[in-house]
Each structure stands twice: as structure tokens, then as C-alpha cells.
Symmetry: C2
Subunit: 354 residues, 2 copies
């Protein structure tokens, strides 16, 4: 991990290839409390596997009393739970950093909220009988590839106590329909509150282990590091963030916004994985004022906000920032990190009022 | 129209912003004869409008005997027709050109095939009674913005004879479900065989006109031009193209492919908007051989192909090229054009066999 762009270097063709494969949620998608399936952000490390659901099995093994293999019908036969969950990629905002870490070049659109339906992970683990020596649960996806010269299946772990939380789902539906292939068909893990890398797609195996997992995507990737030789801290819960629907109409190429003078209601949504959103402020030309919060969206989903702005002719910079109930606010400048993780710098939108 | 990147200039932040808003179909999506909704390519010039279907109306006017306004129920009450249609963005391949036209920086993924259901445009036009002086039909979308300093609603026209063809649909369903917002909810035009710019999304108005339409997206954009002062030819039907699913597994960042030695079946799909696909060839290290064509996908959809390759250890470049029934073959080098339109240069995939 750890290559960065040269100062002033344009986006590389490798970054572009990632940006055209993966996809953000266009910010006008903040209009929808539940993101339409095809607008939800998507990051797949390797290829999207094409899985035959009839042949697919989920293996549950490792430090469990009763190892098993479940087919999709067996998972669907369990009590179904539906949660509205906001997911965000841990690398969101990476392409705004200077120097720019070389990876998927997200600006701010790596977000989305869906209604995920599935079985409770805790139920499945309890049935398997996790042994007392187990400390973590490792989740393996069907996607395989190479990163930093290491060939591996995509794998992530959770501490056992986190895995047993009631909000962890083995999800087979998104917005009331079977998962589409790119979102993890036939089954994916959903870890509410955590950045998206933890919600392993195309699940094939759940393994209880008695030693902390040290696979590539856990021990090398997804760390808050300052340098290559810094082990860093693991990335986990989603940091507080607000985003705004860019008002007015865009220029096709520059995406600059143009707006008629007069009163305009600015709207957006805010979320945080570790505490409720307590406050959203809107900045106009660097002066901040309180936005009005909408109804809470449940424990794991974003919350709407709005702000009335009397738009006067001229050039303006709009911004928004959220603060969570623990007092964490989005930064207006932010310490850089090598992998470009957990960036929640405030969004800024340049607007011409005419 | 017509800005191009400096020689060797990296992708600009404006191009990146377009690439993260719009989305290609990851090439492993070629596995599916019908592309899942959320994998289908998407290009929206301006913002994706949020339309209230209860308030929405389609205005039909201009040179017609019986102008009208139809609601969604009235359109759904007409006989429904479903067509399987491959759509491709006219700018697909643009980012591979040198110098690179500055616009949405597609590599090769701006494709997708869906089952579109709707009313026949010809039925609606016949009911309206198009007057004999009408020469074209203009389609207006609800999306508005600025391009090259010109503020406009997105609009495109079709010659009347094309508009009356039986395959033209006013579509309200994609793959059997109501359109998602980004694909044109509640109603879009589907013009099988033509590049995607003609399939106007978020339709609000259909107008018969007695003079050729000269709006920005018709007279300025979507032209095969060599220079700014060259009026050029209009872009219309999709040129013949084949694409291959990259075999093996990828490196996360470079997307280079790695494959075990042995026999491998290479697969992909091919399509053309003006004639059936007659032939697909696969090139290995510059030597071309015939691929096997699958069943035709209907008049307007892509056709599968496959090729058995005995992969020997080493570095290889794989390619594929299609030829249509009129004898048009994909070029291995291609004349450049200013807007980067209609590029169907053969795809090349670098593969390491181990």
C-alpha cells in the first residue's frame, strides 16, 4: 500500500479505469431517502463474480461446535430482518487529498442508503455454537484477485463481540428485491455503522478463529497510516459527514452550478456510524449557520436537513458540515493519511447566482 | 465543442467528476444477456431530475392535428411492447484517443442491454395526426443545464420516417420494473440501433416540426467533426463492436489479468446498430482466428461469442473484432475526431499466463 501521485499529476489511466468500473451516487440522489439500486455507490475490488445460486453454499466452520453448509433456501427460511443502512466507502474523498493516494479516485459520491433484508448473523453463529476460544469471525467473498503482489480472496474479519451484535445481517435483498450481482448476489454481509469494506459481498464462508485475522484487506489495507512503515490504526466506523444536493443547474463539463437569485431551500443528508447526527451547519462564503434537521432516519441511516438561503447575485461558495452527538465535527482541513481513508472534509460547492 | 487535452496530460478533475457521476458496465457484466439495472451504463448530461409521476405530463404538440397532454396512466393503457435493446454511448472509447477530447472520459464500458417495455411512439404520433408538412420530431427531457455557454433543456430530434418505425418505444419499464430515476423515470424514448444520446430520458414533450431541429445537442454536439469549423456529419447508428470478458483474475490497481496455463474459453458479446453481426474474430498476439457466434439476440441486442484458447505461459495481448453483414469491420487504428464520437477501435487486453 502507499503509492501517491506526483504533485500536480493528473488522474492516471489506472485510476480512470477504476472510476469507470466503480460508481458513485450522483449527489442529486440525496433527494431519495432510500437510494434506488442502480444509483447506490459501488466498489468491487476484483471482478464481480457470476454465481449460480443453485450451486452456491455458505460454509460455516472454524472454531464452532457444529460446522455446516447452508444453501440459500436455508438462509431465507430463517426470520427475516430489514434495516435501513447508509453505507460509505472508506476511501470516499481520496481524490481530493494532496498528495493523492493512488487507488479508486473518489471525490465525495461513494455513498448510498438501502433497505437490506436478511437473516441475523448472530442467529447463524449461535446455531453453529462458537467456541469460547474464538476471538474473531472471518468473512470470505467469492471475489479473488491480486493487490500489492498478493493473490487472495477478498476477506475481512470482525471481533466476535461485534459480529454478535443484533444489527449484523446476512442480506439477500436490497430494497425488497434479490441483490443484483454487483451488490453481492446471492448473499452479503451488512455491517451497519462501519465503512463499506466490512460488508463483504458474495459471501462463501464464515469462519470463527482464535487468533486475530491478518489477511491483506485487514492488516495491510484499510489502515490509518502516515507512512509505509507505520502499522497504523484499523479503519472501522463511518465518520460524521453531511452532503448537500448541488442547487440550481450544472454546466455539463465543469459541473459548476448556476442559480437564479431569490430564496432557495438547500437540502441534503447527514450520517455517522458511531453516534447520532446532532447538528448540521451550512456555510455561505465562510459564514456558518444552523440547518434544520429532519426526522431521524433510524439508528443506521442518514438524516435529512434543510436550510433557507437568500441567494444574491454573485459568486458564492456553499458548504455544509455535520457534528455527531459525541461532539465530533467534520474538519475544514484534515490530516492526510497514506491510503486516503476516512476522509470527511467538508464539501464545498461553487455557485454562480444570476 | 472541441477542447482537447494537452499531449500526455493526465485525466483532469473535471473529467474525473464526470467519471464518478456516470458509470460504465464492468466488462464481466458481458456475462449477462440482459444487464442488471444497476450495471447498465449511464450518462446524464445534466442532473438526474426527481419527477413526481402524479404531476408529470407528456405534451404532444407542434405540427399535429390533435395536440394533447398524456399522463402516465394514459400511456400505460396503450398496448405494451417489449424489446431487448443494446445501448451504447456515442462517446464510448473517447479516453483512448490521442489527443483526448475533453468530455466524459469513457474507456470501453459505456454499454448495456435491457428489456425495455412501453408504448409504440408511432401509435402515439398517429393518434396525434402528424401534419404533412412535418419533417422531424423533437423530444425534450426534463433535464436542463449549460453546455458551451448555452443554457438548454436536453433535446434531440429524429427524422419523421425514423420516428414512425415500429421499434421506437416510449418506455416506462426496464427489465420488467418501472424505470429507476437515473434511467429516465417516468418515461423515456428508446431508439433501438442508435447511440444512446437519441434515447431521450425524462421525456416531457414530443413536438412535430416542419424545419430540421438545430438545438445544441443536435447541431453542435454529436457530430463527426475534424475541427471546430467543420460542421461534420451527425452521429446516428451504433457502429459494429465486440467486447470480451477479461479472462482470469485482475490486479486491483492496474486491472492487468493473470491466468493459469491451459485451455480457457474466452467469451464476449458483439453488436451493431445498422446490420446484423456477421463475424467475430479473436486475436492472440496479433494472429486472428474465427470465434463461434451464439444465437442471435434479436434485431436490436448483442450476440454472444466464444473462442477456445490454449493459454501458454507468458505475456499475451488478446483482442476481438466484429464485422457486420454489410462488411464493416472494427478498425485496429481509427481516424480521430474532435468530439471522440463513434469510436469502435478493437479492445486489447494484456494477460499474464502463469
Amino acid at each position: 500500500m502507499g503509492a501517491v501521485a506526483e504533485p500536480g499529476q493528473g488522474i492516471t489511466v489506472e485510476e480512470l479505469a477504476l472510476a469507470t468500473r466503480n460508481r458513485g451516487m450522483p449527489l442529486e440522489g440525496l433527494h431519495y431517502e432510500v437510494t434506488p439500486v442502480g444509483m447506490h455507490y459501488l466498489l468491487a475490488h476484483f471482478d464481480i463474480p457470476a454465481i449460480d445460486p443453485a450451486a452456491w453454499r455458505l460454509r460455516i466452520d472454524g472454531d464452532v461446535a457444529r460446522p455446516s453448509q447452508l444453501d440459500l433456501a436455508a438462509i431465507r427460511a430463517r426470520p427475516a430482518h430489514t434495516l435501513r443502512v447508509t453505507l460509505e466507502c472508506a476511501g470516499n474523498g481520496r481524490a481530493r487529498l494532496e498528495p493523492r493516494p493512488l487507488s479508486q479516485p473518489w471525490l465525495v459520491e461513494a455513498i448510498g442508503t438501502a433497505d437490506w433484508t436478511g437473516a441475523r448473523l448472530a442467529d447463524v453463529l449461535s446455531e453453529a455454537g462458537v467456541k469460547s476460544r474464538a476471538v474473531e469471525v472471518v468473512f470470505t467473498g467469492a471475489d479473488r484477485g491480486i493487490q500489492d503482489d498478493i493473490e487472495h480472496d477478498y476477506q475481512r474479519s470482525l471481533p466476535l463481540a461485534d459480529a454478535m451484535r443484533e444489527e449484523m445481517l446476512l442480506a439477500y435483498e436490497m430494497n425488497g428485491r434479490p441483490l443484483e450481482p454487483q451488490h453481492g448476489f446471492p448473499l452479503r454481509l451488512i455491517v451497519p455503522g462501519w465503512y463499506g469494506m466490512t460488508s463483504v459481498k458474495w459471501l462463501t464462508r464464515i469462519e470463527a478463529v482464535s487468533q486475530p485475522f491478518t489477511g491483506f484487506q485487514q492488516a495491510e489495507a484499510y489502515r490509518y497510516q502516515q507512512a509505509e512503515d507505520d502499522a497504523g490504526e484499523p479503519v472501522s466506523r463511518i465518520r460524521v459527514r453531511a452532503l448537500m444536493i448541488p442547487p440550481g443547474i450544472p454546466d455539463f463539463f465543469t459541473r459548476r452550478r448556476f442559480l437564479a437569485a431569490g430564496r432557495v431551500v438547500l437540502t441534503g443528508r447527514a450520517w455517522c456510524g458511531s453516534a447520532p447526527v446532532a447538528r448540521v451547519e451550512v456555510g455561505v462564503g465562510g459564514r456558518w449557520a444552523e440547518a434544520r434537521l429532519g426526522e431521524p432516519g433510524g439508528s443506521w441511516a442518514w438524516r435529512g436537513w434543510s436550510f433557507e438561503w437568500d441567494a444574491r447575485p454573485g459568486e458564492h461558495t456553499l458548504a455544509c458540515r455535520a457534528t455527531d452527538a459525541a461532539g465530533n465535527a467534520q474538519p475544514t482541513s484534515q490530516p492526510w493519511n497514506l491510503q486516503g481513508m476516512g476522509n470527511n472534509l467538508v464539501q464545498e460547492i461553487a455557485v454562480t447566482v444570476r
